[in-house]
């Protein structure tokens, strides 16, 4: 293709990408370097039905003048990135100096909000992604071997978890694992421990969130693999059979290699999705035991009366960086495959 033709071909996509992806990211990055203006506080008195009190209020005129002078806010450089709510350089250095053993040091580090969230986010991604890949393939192979009559209904039922809105699906599970819910009460009965609570234990909460994650995303990998299985060349499978390959061997040496490009695609999607795990944390009210990077952004923007745009921006940038790091090995692999095929 001529360069000129290529350019005109790609122009609409490219401009849409710049407008809707690149520019917003740049804007978020610029915002993450700034903090709000000084709020000029004045002492005043507030009175109401419960009496009068000394209090402070924001001097609106003085604060508005500051805002006028610097519409973007005060430039803060990378200080938001390094403060306690994010990478916490000072706190880690301090913990390093004051703690005796590695255990104590790590406890201090993982008590910091960003690292706490990062630990859960990475664990969730590392556990859910391979499980969904393997189980998705297994379910797809299973469904593929069903008699024709049963295939349609089975596929429909298997897809249901994916059709449920994540927030709703996790809420339903949350109620089921309650001490009075069907799963929670059954577990209490089975273990003979009436105070067993899935919501009160950090370990059980993590397991619950990851189980939910697998349940919810499994249909996605299942349906992609199932579609892939329909394209496995029959001739090769028959040839393998004639050569005396067992079912397992033809799976291992014919089917799986044929599905590798799909495997890469599904892994990419799963890694990205799982790294931004968010809804189950809100629905399960699990903030006490598990938080994620996306949850921190939500918390910064929503919970306090003053949305912390700089903090949210900084966490967003680091989330993007995290996704890039996670995806790099998969992308390098794809690139190599592509080059090999091209030559």
């Amino acid at each position: 293709m001529k360069n000129r033709t290529f350019f005109w071909f790609i122009l609409p996509t490219l401009s849409a990408m710049v407008l809707f992806i690149a520019l917003p990211i740049v804007s978020v990055f610029i915002q993450s370097l700034h903090i709000e203006h000084e709020q000029v506080l004045v002492v005043s008195e507030s009175c109401g039905p419960f009496g009068c009190e000394q209090t402070t209020e924001v001097d609106l005129e003085a604060s508005a003048a500051l805002r006028e002078a610097q519409p973007l806010g005060r430039f803060n450089g990378f200080a938001t990135y390094t403060n306690r709510a994010h990478l916490a350089f000072d706190e880690i250095a301090e913990a390093w100096r004051t703690t005796e053993d590695t255990g104590a040091f790590l406890r201090r580090v993982f008590d910091l909000p960003f690292y706490k969230a990062l630990t859960f986010t990475l664990t969730y991604t590392a556990v859910v992604t391979p499980l969904v890949l393997v189980l998705g393939l297994a379910v797809a192979v299973g469904v593929n071997n069903l008699p024709k009559l049963l295939k349609g209904p089975t596929i429909f039922v298997s897809l249901l978890p994916f059709l449920v809105t994540p927030l709703v699906g996790s809420l339903i599970l949350f109620w089921m694992v309650d001490g009075d819910g069907i799963i929670g009460a059954t577990l209490q009965r089975l273990t003979g421990d009436p105070s067993l609570s899935l919501k009160a234990s950090p370990t059980l909460t993590w397991i619950m969130l990851m189980t939910y994650g697998v349940w919810h995303t499994l249909p996605f990998s299942f349906i992609v693999f199932y579609a892939g299985l329909q394209t496995v060349p029959r001739d090769t499978l028959e040839a393998a059979k004639i050569d005396g390959a067992s079912k397992w061997q033809s799976m291992r040496y014919v089917t799986v290699p044929h599905l590798v490009p799909l495997l890469t695609f599904v892994s990419l999607m799963l890694l990205m999705d799982n790294f931004r795990v968010f809804e189950p944390i809100v629905s399960f009210q699990s903030q006490a035991h598990a938080t994620s990077l996306s949850w921190i952004i939500f918390n910064d923007l929503r919970e306090s009366g003053n949305p912390l745009y700089g903090s949210a921006g900084a966490t967003s940038m680091m989330t993007i960086l995290g996704v890039v790091i996670l995806l790099t090995p998969v992308l390098i692999r794809t690139w190599r495959d592509f080059n090999r095929k091209a030559h």
């Binding site: 109401g48 209090t55 924001v58 009160a200 929503r302 306090s304």
Partner: protein
């Protein structure tokens, strides 16, 4: 001290007064043909006020729209920022008024009160720095809920008035084998656990900030004492307490699974009514003052009011019509028709059993929720950072140091600390 006494007396006058306010003429709705647009939270008492305003004045107005949403707090600042604002009035509470005032989005009401405020008692005017910024109409606070039958069965005499007595009562109920976890509190991680800390902190005489500044002072003796008291009580709370807020605690109570509760007064009438529970629970539930540290001390509660504000970025005529309409709803007839929906601060209110807890708490000298510009940031920090202590993973000192550190970062970013 003097201020507190007069305030309590004023409040009680408001609470107890039964003299009906006689309307001599029809409601004065102010300028005609204006647009009235109200944003409010979503509970029965607020519906009652806005219903009354709509009935009185919608006919005169060109437009009367209302948006009742539990998300009101999240959208109010964005909705009032443009000129003209999306709403002409927001029904706020202590904390949310501060949030609007920080951005200068509500207007002083002094001239409007003068013109339309005949039926508003002076103690209902929320004055900040000398300007009337809101008009309160109902009160709310946390307080103690008890099941008298269970206390009696466990051999507890009287209703617990201090935290020590509360722990004793819980221990007796557990020892008698009636309930393993007799206590419910709103301890959901986030806003709720922060608010519960506030109760204990204020009861221990804590101050959130150095007066006149945004420097935090929660990592103090009062803070540590508050956390220690909380820890003693949490021992008796439902194992899932870190996931429970008002809806969950109310459900546990109505299911008869709790005997002692620190819950919101506004849940009182919902618990005492004949829906969602058995008569065994409703007949034996008594609402009492929030417990204090020492007998007769400051009750562990934060007093809240709900009230009317008027947006700044709307025309003076719209502001006037909106204020007149809402104030026209604050009558004794409205109160009488909706008596049990709230602890009204208006004439005509007859406190029933559902209001007893809030009245006793206010009378006991509980502190109002602080109206300080940066309190929202502190509240968020408390809500997120105290969990480590409550799970038993860190000391009270460490948890409070974490709170202050988290607060400092956020307050610097928001411009309150330099």
């Amino acid at each position: 001290m003097f201020l507190r006494t007069t305030a309590a007396a004023g409040l009680m006058a408001g609470l107890m007064s039964t003299a009906a306010f006689a309307e001599a003429h029809g409601p004065d709705c102010g300028p005609e043909g204006q647009s009235i647009r109200i944003l409010a939270s979503d509970f029965p008492a607020i519906h009652a006020v806005v219903d009354a305003a709509e009935e009185n004045c919608a006919g005169q107005a060109a437009e009367f729209t209302r948006n009742h949403t539990t998300e009101a707090r999240q959208i109010m600042n964005a909705a009032l920022t443009p000129d003209p604002a999306e709403y002409t009035s927001v029904i706020v509470a202590n904390a949310t008024l501060t949030q609007l005032m920080n951005d200068g989005l509500v207007r002083p009401l002094d001239d409007l009160v003068e013109k339309y405020g005949d039926n508003i008692q002076p103690n209902l005017l929320i004055k900040i720095g000398g300007n009337t910024m809101a008009v309160a109409f109902m009160a709310n606070s946390q307080h103690l809920f008890v099941r008298e039958d269970i206390l009696e069965e466990a051999g507890v005499e009287g209703i617990p008035a201090t935290f020590d007595e509360l722990v004793d009562a819980a221990e007796k109920i557990r020892a008698a084998g009636i309930m393993e976890h007799p206590l419910v509190m709103n301890m959901q991680t986030g806003w709720n656990v922060g608010e519960t800390f506030n109760l204990f902190f204020l009861a221990h005489g804590g101050e959130f900030f150095e007066p006149g500044t945004a420097e935090p002072t929660v990592n103090s003796e009062a803070g540590i004492a508050a956390l220690e008291t909380m820890a003693r009580l949490v021992e008796y709370a439902h194992p899932d307490h870190l996931t429970q807020a008002s809806n969950e605690t109310q459900a546990l109570w109505e299911a008869g699974q709790a005997a002692l509760g620190i819950m919101w007064g506004s849940r009182g009438s919902a618990i005492l009514d004949d829906e969602g529970s058995t008569s065994e629970v409703t007949e034996n539930t008594v609402l009492a003052a929030a417990p204090s540290v020492e007998p007769g001390g400051v009750p562990g509660a934060t007093l809240w009011w709900d009230g009317i504000t008027i947006a700044k970025n709307v025309s003076d005529e719209e502001a006037e019509a909106t204020f007149a309409a809402l104030v026209s709803g604050l009558t004794s007839e409205m109160v009488q028709a909706n008596n049990d929906d709230a602890v009204w601060l208006l004439d005509g209110f007859e406190p029933g059993p559902a209001a007893a807890g809030v009245s006793a708490t206010a009378q006991g000298g509980a502190k109002p929720y602080p109206m300080i510009p940066q309190i929202g940031i502190m509240h968020t920090a408390l809500g997120n950072e105290l969990v480590g202590f409550l799970k038993g993973e860190e000391s009270a000192e460490q948890a409070l140091a974490d709170v202050e550190a988290a607060y400092r970062d956020a307050a610097k970013e928001a411009g309150f600390l330099q």
